[in-house]
């Protein structure tokens, strides 16, 4: 009898540690987050729970009157609209080019393009901050040498967003390129042989065979990339702190600033939920479009 009970409990002992940690640090937090987004929890509330009050939708209403939040939303949309297509187009193009050959050169290139993905964001952001330096940085040096003027990469409000996008795209290419490459290698060779017999050019083959065969990978990469850009945080945090004048601030950074620098936990939680809702909505739209394409 005792043996039987042990047998029944055995599977749970294997999943228990992982499950406990996930429940404690993912499931419960999301519930707490939802609850405190309707409260005025701040640093005083942390010491004295009696001071915490439910304030209904006030946080959410205030958010949409907060010019800093609206600016962060605008910036985040800019990151998404420019960043997502750039990542998909570049990683796809590089994957197709690397798939051209199998020799050591192409293997080396696979390694070269993947390397930025594994390196530490803080270290890389420090390096790029130096490269973007207006007077001693590498990029302006090169621009000056070919006769172009200096650019205030991180100091000009209009350029700073682009500067961060360049870095983030550089870092994102590798992983997505590998996903495309794995998919490219799965396309049957006879598709191309048949097209060759019909006299299709390389370009026609790419448009009519390669891209359609990669539909699922493109969908997967666009969903994950979109989610990633919605949560854009590390680069603006290390390089610009959201400046100059809030021009690079993202919603994720807004949550961090309000939560951990100003200790407005309730307000920050409500901003994070707005972000979560936007991610879910955008993902649902992508799934809808994908289904439509498949059925149509």
């Amino acid at each position: 009898m005792k043996n039987n009970l042990m047998k029944k409990l055995m599977p749970y002992t294997f999943i228990f540690p992982a499950l406990l940690l996930l429940i404690l640090f993912s499931i419960i937090p999301i519930i707490i987050s939802l609850v405190i987004s309707f409260t005025n929890l701040d640093i005083t509330g942390l010491g004295n729970w009696g001071a915490v009050k439910f304030i209904g939708l006030s946080n959410f209403i205030n958010l949409f009157h907060d010019s800093l939040f609206l600016q962060a939303v605008g910036n985040t949309l800019f990151y998404v609209v420019i960043g997502v297509p750039a990542v998909i187009a570049l990683s796809l193009a590089i994957a197709i080019m690397i798939n051209f050959g199998q020799n050591r050169f192409f293997k080396l290139m696979r390694l070269v393009f993947y390397t930025p993905s594994i390196t530490n964001t803080v270290a890389v952001a420090v390096v790029w901050t130096f490269m973007y330096n207006p007077s001693t940085g590498l990029i302006n040096n090169i621009l000056n040498q070919i006769g172009l003027g200096s650019v205030g990469w991180l100091t000009d409000q209009n350029v700073a967003k682009i500067a961060l996008i360049i870095l983030a795209v550089w870092k994102a290419i590798g992983l997505n390129m590998l996903i495309f490459l794995a998919a490219l290698q799965g396309i049957p060779k006879d598709f191309y042989e048949a097209a060759e017999l019909d006299g299709a050019s390389w370009w026609q083959q790419t448009i009519h065979i390669t891209i359609p065969s990669l539909k699922f990978s493109i969908f997967f990469v666009s969903v994950t990339t979109l989610i990633g850009w919605f949560q854009f945080f590390d680069e603006p945090f290390v390089m610009t702190k959201g400046g100059p004048l809030g021009s690079t601030n993202s919603v994720a950074l807004f949550v961090y600033q309000n939560g951990f620098q100003q200790s407005n936990f309730g307000y920050a939680a409500s901003a994070s939920f707005v972000m979560f809702a936007a991610i879910i909505l955008a993902t649902l739209i992508q799934f809808k479009l994908q289904n439509k394409q498949q059925n149509g």
Partner: protein
């Protein structure tokens, strides 16, 4: 294949190679610049000599780096990395549990695990801080380690791999009287070597790069990791790019070396289309 077609294919391959080489050079240029600048004197950097290579090689930056507390940050980072391997073991155990046992609630629990992948870090950031605060774990290494210890994606990958291990091996061992734990250590883990390799490397990289939780939870320099220390260094030595580049090199170069050694395991692990 006709001769002219072969020739045109060779030509286009050559053009593609050139484009890749140029673009590839731009991709690694930041790393070259970082590494070479870390050996320049700060005077040379400020004077803006515009030379790519150091005029006068120096190890001064690295010496300063270790005088500014990097040894301590390295120790903390290695401790965190070590414990993230314990986390990987938990993931493997959960993967085995979900793959090879039938039990009440398996489906629901597994979906719950997968659902946690969708939750953005920023949504749970504040509540996790509040929970750790209630547990009196802020400003401790335990607090820094716990939130990132297990990951749903890793559990998912272990489960996928382990469900492909044939049941007959396990049945045979069971008939011989092996316990479930014995089978996990002596059969499941050795067979799972390929997935352990990928997960091991990713775990190492994750631990080495740990940034957000140490940043939020450590009020005290005593618990800073390399990433947090580097970020602090950037704030303190705003114009001393030499030491910043030395710190960045110290973080980036070991990862690149490890990656180059184990690349064949990682590069295989990304097939999302095709086999289950």
């Amino acid at each position: 294949m006709s001769n002219s077609l072969l020739k045109s294919q060779q030509n286009s391959r050559f053009i593609v190679s050139v484009i890749l080489a140029v673009f590839g050079f731009i991709m690694i240029l930041p790393f070259l610049w970082m590494f070479l600048s870390s050996f320049k004197t700060n005077a040379e950097i400020v004077q803006n000599t515009r030379s790519f290579f150091p005029k006068q090689w120096t190890l001064e930056n690295y010496r300063n780096l270790f005088h500014s507390g990097f040894t301590l940050y390295l120790r903390n980072t290695l401790i965190i990395t070590f414990f993230s391997f314990v986390g990987m073991l938990f993931n493997a155990m959960a993967g085995y549990g979900f793959a090879k046992f039938k039990f009440k609630g398996r489906g629901v629990l597994f979906i719950m695990v997968l659902a946690t992948m969708m939750i953005p870090g920023q949504v749970t950031m504040i509540p996790v801080y509040l929970i750790l605060n209630q547990m009196h774990l802020t400003n401790t290494l335990t607090g820094i380690i716990l939130p990132g210890l297990v990951g749903a994606f890793s559990i998912f990958l272990f489960r996928q791999f382990i469900s492909n291990i044939s049941d007959s091996i396990l049945e045979a061992a069971r008939l011989d009287g092996a316990s479930e734990w014995y089978m996990f250590w002596h059969i499941i883990l050795p067979i799972s070597k390929p997935v352990l390799a990928v997960q091991g490397i990713l775990t190492f990289i994750g631990g080495w790069n740990a940034f957000l939780w140490p940043l939020i939870l450590a009020n005290d320099e005593k618990y800073y990791t390399l990433s947090v220390g580097l970020q602090l260094l950037q704030g303190q030595h705003t114009t001393d790019y030499g030491i910043q580049m030395a710190g960045s090199s110290f973080m980036v170069i070991p990862i690149i070396i490890i990656f180059v050694i184990f690349q064949k395991y990682i590069l295989q692990g990304f097939n999302i289309q095709g086999d289950k």
